[in-house]
Symmetry: C2
Subunit: 700 residues, 2 copies
Amino acid sequence: MTTAPRSARPTSTSEPVPSDAVALSSRARAQISDALDGRWRDLRRHTRDVAAEPGLVGIPGLPMPEHRARVLACLADLASRGEVQRAFPTRLGGGDNPGGNIAAFEELLVADPSLQIKAGVQWGLFGAAVLHLGTQHNHDELLPGIMSLEVPGAFAMTEIGHGSDVASIGTTATYDPDAEEFVIHTPFRGAWKEYLGNAALHGVAAVVFAQLVTGGVNHGVHAFYVPLRDTSREPDERGAYPMLPGVRSEDDGYKGGLNGIDNGRLAFDHVRVPRTNLLDRYGRVDPDGTYSSPIASPGRRFFTMLSTLVQGRVSLGGASAVASKMGLAIAVRYAEQRRQFPGADGVETVLMDYGTHRRRLLPLLARTYAVQLLHNDLLERFHGVFAGERDTDADREDLETLAAAAKPLATWHALETLQTCREACGGAGYMAANRIVGLRADLDVYVTFEGDNTVLLQLVGKRLLTDYGRETATMDVAGQARWVAKRAGDMALYRTPLRRASQSVRDWGSKARSASELRDPAVQRELLEDRVETMIEEIALRLRPSLKGSPEEKAAAFDANQAELVEAARAHGELMQWEAFTEALDSVTDPDGRRVLTWLRDLFGLHLIESHLAWYVVNGRLSAQRARTVTSYIERLLLRLRPYALQLVEVFGYGDAQLRADIATPAESERQAEAMAYHAALRESGDAPVSEKDLLKRAG
Amino acid sequence: MTTAPRSARPTSTSEPVPSDAVALSSRARAQISDALDGRWRDLRRHTRDVAAEPGLVGIPGLPMPEHRARVLACLADLASRGEVQRAFPTRLGGGDNPGGNIAAFEELLVADPSLQIKAGVQWGLFGAAVLHLGTQHNHDELLPGIMSLEVPGAFAMTEIGHGSDVASIGTTATYDPDAEEFVIHTPFRGAWKEYLGNAALHGVAAVVFAQLVTGGVNHGVHAFYVPLRDTSREPDERGAYPMLPGVRSEDDGYKGGLNGIDNGRLAFDHVRVPRTNLLDRYGRVDPDGTYSSPIASPGRRFFTMLSTLVQGRVSLGGASAVASKMGLAIAVRYAEQRRQFPGADGVETVLMDYGTHRRRLLPLLARTYAVQLLHNDLLERFHGVFAGERDTDADREDLETLAAAAKPLATWHALETLQTCREACGGAGYMAANRIVGLRADLDVYVTFEGDNTVLLQLVGKRLLTDYGRETATMDVAGQARWVAKRAGDMALYRTPLRRASQSVRDWGSKARSASELRDPAVQRELLEDRVETMIEEIALRLRPSLKGSPEEKAAAFDANQAELVEAARAHGELMQWEAFTEALDSVTDPDGRRVLTWLRDLFGLHLIESHLAWYVVNGRLSAQRARTVTSYIERLLLRLRPYALQLVEVFGYGDAQLRADIATPAESERQAEAMAYHAALRESGDAPVSEKDLLKRAG
């Protein structure tokens, strides 16, 4: 029974350094920190401090009614301090800063994900819909109340019957030219609006998505501003004002997390709103009922409207990165002090020194960097489009595709990371006081809201197929023939098509065989790129015979390839993460910092390759012999990175005030010091019992 | 916007059958059900009904204090009805039925995992410790109060400072021969007993594990019965009786789940208990302080004592199978009716008909069968040992190893399954009313309590290494030389050792190359076996050079191989699952039932092989060409199994009363029917708006 720690334990909570760590210079740490925090780093750091204020932080186990009331009050506080309006027009008191607004929004997670998501409902969905789908008259009339939280609101898009398939929603908004009003109506139970934050209690208005019908024609889904509750009367004991005539609300009750938000359902029984309540940027109705739109195609109009709401996806990915960083900061701080089982020297081993522990945590740490760094790119693109700096159709299309790839990867990553961190902390990880389980429960829904992850990856896959089609379509007939012949040759050789037919073909097959270093970034890139391209090409080739078939045949062929298409989209997202990580290395000029970060990038890249090793070997990209070296490279990197683990989470910028987890404080090492002192004193006193084992050894 | 379902939807909640399903005969279903429910199927089914009683089921969102009180009351109810005492001696009112007791215990999860685990604390840990570590005088004195719940108790083994490493706990029990008492003492903060159910409120006694010291000798960890609270006085407003002198308690507060249990911490300040409160089966202390034990070796004694507590591990694996089955029953019922996005025919597609959905759910369904069927084997072995039917040292050792392999796989499987099911149900899956998130939150801690999963797999890996060492040790010198030479040859050929050197070597390499069917069970078995054996052999060979080194060198070598040893242990568990599944096929004599179940077993086996495909290809066990067929076989199996998905979850035996999830009822298909009827009536009335898209098509 030995509990003597190897060396003096850290006593400061701010920067405990493990005994065998090599300290990075403050310059190196600052550069890494800047790279992670990105363009709006000042806003991020400011918001981290705000979100750690005692009045704003979540209280584990607070009962749902109190939690909901608290979060509403916190939102009002944030609104009164101007912390949440940066995306709105300057002329109305905002900041015209879409990117900075999202960066700050993401850091609100530090306080409480319920607070973050309720803020997202109010300003990122309800307010953003008015901003992006409305025109100036909508803005002037509606935004001030939304920005100040005088008018809490719901974003009523999803229905019980239709989530991902928004085009098929059942709610109707029928124009009545005599009254110059729209009649909002829920025709059946499946068309009830569902899962809406602010719907159960606090919403006094909503942006309602409905099929716009005028003159007997359905012009598709449009958004309408609809008052819900009567604020001229007294609220009930739950804090909810009475419903307006024709509006009904139900409470979703307890959820898997985010219980500080009053999610609920809404239905409308022929509720009338003025004609001007149509958010009319992409479709207007004249007083006489004449419909007009700047976008002639109903399909393109619909997707354009939805695309203005991309910020939800962007910000959830970023919030997931925040949660991942917090989880790892807690787990690594704990793993650097917690000890279990005596080692060879009789001293108990620090968890971080276990091979299994490094294997569990460090690849996730590397991927967390990749997630954050890709998110930073995405956020800059988002800002470019929405601040009007780079706002072509192609920019918007690229933004949407990247957001659709980054969000699933980031949100799933957060769940995996938080769960692994929770398990790595053992029973202590399961205590609400240690934060991780709460974060995981709240983050759970991020993988299906604002675009179901699987559906988003299908969209990305389709885009990749389209791009592939465009490329091959530009070839002339002779080129196509050569291309098909080449494919056939590849098929015979490798039983699979090898490379896409573009000028980017490089003789990389031989390179992979000759390159001595899988850690060569060029080789990593080639391997990751090649996998995406080949998978897409294979799917395209398999789909080709069905293209001239019936719709049913096409659908069946697509269904048969759907799972692999999702896998290809994931591979595309991973490549984007790797590229972003690699690009970010340039910003770290400190040699030590860059070396450590390069190891971390290599760990990320090699871990990806290891995850997909079967593909690389089966498809002849890696020999069996080379494949075997991947894992040993990884093990070497894990050992190299191990002394930096703590520093690599400290640069995230989450201190005690943000983490608020008992196990992330030095309490554990203090307890070990106390136990050690007890045993030392006992030995000194001469009263220490001798162990039966030692007696037997002496006797034997 | 089309919501017309393809065919009439099911109206009965008991057995909805998808339109394209091929119905298995009731005989086939009964046989599959019997195989799944195993030897104690009657007790399982009885308990499922009990656990669905309104008075016992959990209430989502019930605040913690009420939840704790309710669960305690439910336990009293179960105790009064004799539902929880089957493991105890018949002479004291039990059933001497260790296996049946566990089977019934596992099904209590249906009511509420908090209820199950609190029952586990009381009768499976606290009571079982008295039963297995005590002798008749302990039984006669203590068991009646425990069995009736007159004495709720805690199982005080884990300390803040020591979880997995029980041997190092700090609590002491020092014998005082003058008073003939043990003095139970917590010498420092790290030695506080931690995470104990019943410690915060309800426990009036505990079995406390402490270092037994008598005559200045520490005889290692033993268990003591220690009263905690004074039931002669009034309980406080939380329902807790006052602490006895010297005993302190703290409340763990909110946890990630299981909030119906009052977990807490305990400390003892020189608390005296009579000498006879030592549970004295494996160690006794005479009045004069003389220690004696039937097991001379302190190490073996310690492990023997711990091994009597294997039932926790066994039952958590079984409970995880129950949770997995419930999650899948809910998700598949929903996936069979939920529709999203119009298909080629304009009719919205049922989720279960999506390639991605099949890929997500059906391999987990197959693995759930494997988990349950291996658990049934394990439970029979457990019963054999604890009912004294087959109770040799080898039986106990095998039981422990199998339990240590099965528990991690089953508990991690449950988390993966529940999470996948939750995501497959979209936002609806996140609602507490649909059960899945609650089950997942509660089950989370199963992966680290009663043996941390990673630590357990390390134990299994060590056992596999030991067995390997025993086998090679029996070879003579010439044999060893030949063996080493053969290894060297293999290494040259494959860069890895190929087969273990035992008489079981089969010429399977050529078989794999020639066999036309990966679905041949002999091939599946060979592939799975070979992987375990080869991994263990490789690790043993890598460890060999360090065996003659210093303890530090040995430890470093072991650490470097730890992650792979855990992977080998997992592979061993997977092989055991596959064997159990295959063996169970024999009990299904109905040809249709057996055919479908064989597909499911093949899906399980091939999915395992696909998960480890890189290993098989890199190590020359599968050619690249054959490897490519694995995934296409799987896709074919998924299509074959798809019509049986619903029936394969219905045979689990969980109906509406057990599932209690809105989305597992026909509510969704009823809403679709309502929407369809609305649209049909609108079309008939002639008032249906025409869509702008259709107008444009007509115009174009």
